[in-house]
Amino acid sequence: MIDLTDQPFDPAESLRAFQVQAAGAGAIVSFTGLVRPNNTSSPVTRLYLQAYSPMTERGIEAAAKDASQRWPISHLTITHRIGDMGPGDPIVFVAAASAHRRAAFEAADFLMDYLKTEAIFWKKETGPDHATWIEPRLEDYRDSARWTQKEHP
């Protein structure tokens, strides 16, 4: 259900496996994050992701449990890469299954906000003329705050 891996993975195969597990759910929402070939101003040739085990896994597990309590989801899966990646490589795959399509959308959205701003990862982006540690943007923190400002209906 939760997988932190330093090996490349294939989101299509993750979705296939999830669909088998979640048979009967009716609605599956997935999010795939890929390494972008450039940032706002320059090419990106490499992305490095660092975690702190087992704190990282524990945090993701707690967020998954939180999502399961907020929404009636039958299944969840989260795969997150660590280590060195290149442009186009999958970084993260999150999928949520439910009998209710809104629950699946919201749970996946919520988990992505957690992963972007609270999950214990550090990210370094390297290009031909830069090597920068990336921290969440204001926009990411704002997205994440949506889930505490309002109660789920």
Partner: protein, 82 residues
């Protein structure tokens, strides 16, 4: 011996990702440790920033917290994956 871990940009700033050493007797709290390391690594105040959180033995602590010579102490800049 204590084990110090520097995550993200702090590894670039301190020049190391891990450091295993005996803490001097006068380092009793996280505040002492931050000040001592910031000076020792010439970090110019970076290790004192409140946005840098500390974890002791894999749990983030409220500071100031006591540090012990057998602890694993991690210096954590703002996090974010995905």
């Amino acid at each position: 011996m204590a084990k110090l871990i520097f995550f993200g940009r702090l590894a670039d700033i301190t020049g190391q990702t891990e450091q295993v050493l005996d803490l001097p007797a006068n380092i009793a709290t996280t505040a002492d440790l931050r000040a001592w390391l910031d000076q020792g690594h010439a970090c110019d105040g970076v290790l004192l920033e409140t946005s840098i959180r500390l974890a002791i033995n894999n749990d983030i602590v409220h500071e100031p917290a006591d540090v012990d010579n057998h602890d694993e102490i991690a210096f954590m800049p703002p996090v974010g994956g995905g």
